[in-house]
Amino acid sequence: MTDTNKVYKGSDYYIASKPLMEIVNVAIALGKPLVIKGEPGTGKTLLAHSIAEALNKKLITWNIKSTTKAKDGLYVYDTVQRLNDARFKDKDISDIRQYIKLGKLGQAFKSEEQVVLLIDEIDKADIEFPNDLLNELDEMSFYIPELDEEVVAKHRPIVVITSNSEKELPDAFLRRCIFYYIEFPDEEMMEKIVRVHYPDIENKLLRETLKRFYWIREVDGLKKKPSTSELLDWIKALMIGGINADKIASEIPFLGTLLKNEQDTARFIRLSSTQQGGFGFKKRF
């Protein structure tokens, strides 16, 4: 009766640590929403994609903005369209149903098969937003008064919620979820991530770039530490530019792909030129 489809083991393009896989599986098995936090670029959003891909399920993404309301995820009653139809078109408007549009949560509930529902960057919304979703996520249903109809989830979606911790999430909400903080990958793990994206990368180049990358991340007081995405961009630039590994040991070409604001670049150059005499950064920029 082994249902291997149900077990998440990472996917071809996503490197998940073993504890993360475990937690994903427990969340799925117990039907609890999984809250994922972590620095930018640690693969929070990608995780939901990976789960959907690995388990062969449809992914429904609800991107949260500062103006998003919990209700938007349930349904929208398009009264303006209805008014417009009533006034300017010869159309039967008595069936309200045609003006009710399901939101992402609604779609996930109505789906014929179990889906993965990604609620991305939940911390962007108002502080109360997660609490407004509590009932719906608990009961897996909601009510549409206009239709006097209850939307009940046919299959409990696998809910993945990401947060960048711009705001803290309410306790009542967190109590119902499983929580996992993705640590910034260590070098060993990062190597695997890079290889997923550039399978043919030369060993030496990979080693040198990682060494430099982690060294730059250590620089004190950077406004924005370079993340995985920046590392990948940088490596791409190096590969396209045909830069060889030895060069990275003595200078940092395309620093702009790693540090994206002037203050950080300035700080980095100042510190590195004093720390590492003869490193020769100044000449390069």
């Binding site: 209805r82 967190l174 499983i178």
Partner: protein
């Protein structure tokens, strides 16, 4: 065993609730863990700890509780024993907590066939023993366990950087999450996060704001008869005044204060944000700019700002006795004050009922007599993430926040 782990977590500062504990137990009942400590570590953490800020406390508790066990398999008999009687060993619960626990447990029992669960559990235990290979075999629920099918991904190794074979107790021992604790550091981002809670969304003044969405909605529902809907403006109405000590003893905390200051000024979150500086204590003047001694009479604060303004004073409150209690006690030789500092502080508190004092020094040092005196005038909090949160609670509570007597 185990239940005391719940208390240990609480003792270490993890705000774990009974609801969460029961979800965790449910996961254990259902067999979603292996006999190894690794599972207990990661699954326990995911169920019981909801912020990386508490990961370190969890690590400490875990190490203290399971530290001696090392890599050997967990003694399942003990888990079993406990699962059969989960209320055992709960002397430290208050009657309310006990009642809640019991209620939740009853619900849980209603939802699950306990006998069946226990039977399955025992079976898994037996298999486990027969296989005799401790940490590396999964306890599965006859194949449906999510852990039943781990292994290597056909496309290559899919095991991440965290070495799985390392004992969980050792992982806990590394205390990798030390720097995420809320009671140690306060960076600009965290400060902003905390300050975001300082808000009051309500309508101010008499002018009402047209709610366009609602108006259209209503109009449409009324079949096109224009129906105007007004609403309260949802903008943050909090007006904040920050008063910061720049005295010599504050030097070690300059950076900390700068962070608070830059967070508050970068945010554009408040309806109004004003800031002034002072030197050790507040007298008849505060400063707009400390470097060139640009003064503003303290009286002006009372005449220009109504009592709804929230005031945060930042300082170590540590000064010579005379600086607080004496006429002409001010530390600056060129400055005279005809009223002692304490009178000014009391007037500020009187005029601004929503005021707090943030102190960058550790609570242990608040015994000093001027600190002690000032903490009886203003509610005083540590300048840490937790302290800031409490301060903001005090600033937004309906009642005037009581100070210690």
């Amino acid at each position: 065993m185990f239940t005391d782990f719940f208390f240990l977590l609480k003792k270490k500062g993890v705000p774990v609730t009974i609801t969460e504990w029961l979800s965790f137990i449910e996961a254990l009942y259902k067999g979603y863990f292996q006999s190894s400590l690794n599972h207990l570590y990661y699954i326990g953490r995911a169920f019981l700890v909801k912020s990386e800020a508490y990961y370190d406390m969890f690590d400490l508790a875990f190490q203290e509780y399971f530290g001696g066990i090392e890599t050997s398999p967990l003694e399942l008999e003990k888990v079993l024993e406990w699962l059969e009687n989960p209320l055992h060993k709960l002397p430290k619960l208050t009657p309310e907590e006990l009642a809640e626990f019991q209620k939740k447990l009853e619900e849980f029992r209603k939802q699950h066939d306990m006998e069946e669960l226990m039977r399955q559990f025992r079976e898994r235990l037996k298999e486990q023993k027969e296989r005799h290979n401790g940490g590396s075999k999964w306890i599965g629920t006859g194949g449906t366990s999510p852990f039943g099918a781990y292994g290597y991904h056909p496309g290559g190794i899919r095991v991440g950087g965290e070495s799985w074979m390392q004992s969980a107790a050792k992982v806990a021992g590394e205390r990798r999450f030390r720097n995420y604790r809320n009671d140690v550091i306060l960076d600009v981002r965290q400060t902003k996060m905390a300050l975001k809670r300082l808000r009051e969304l309500k309508r101010e003044g008499t002018q009402e704001e047209l709610d366009i969405d609602e108006t259209i909605d209503k109009t449409a529902k009324e079949g096109g008869e224009i129906e105007l809907v007004f609403t309260r403006s949802r903008e943050n109405t909090v007006r904040l005044i920050l008063l910061m000590d720049t005295g010599g003893s504050m030097l070690p905390y300059t950076e900390l204060c700068e962070r608070l200051f830059s967070a508050a000024s970068q945010m554009e979150h408040f309806k109004e944000f004003k800031y002034y500086f002072f030197h050790n204590c507040i007298y008849q003047d505060v400063y707009e700019d400390m470097a060139n001694y640009k003064r503003v009479p303290t009286e002006k604060l009372f005449s220009n700002f109504h009592k709804g303004y929230k005031v945060i004073i930042v300082g170590d409150a540590r000064m010579a006795y005379s600086e607080l209690f004496d006429v002409n006690g001010c530390i600056d030789y060129f400055y005279t004050n005809d009223k002692p500092g304490i009178e000014w502080l009391m007037r500020i508190r009187e005029h601004f009922p929503y005021s707090v004092w943030l102190n960058p020094t550790h609570k242990n040092f608040w015994g000093h007599y001027t600190v002690d005196t000032i903490s009886k005038i203003f509610p005083m909090f540590e300048l840490t993430v937790d302290g800031l949160k409490d301060a903001i609670k005090a600033l937004t509570s309906k009642q005037k926040y009581a100070v210690r007597q």
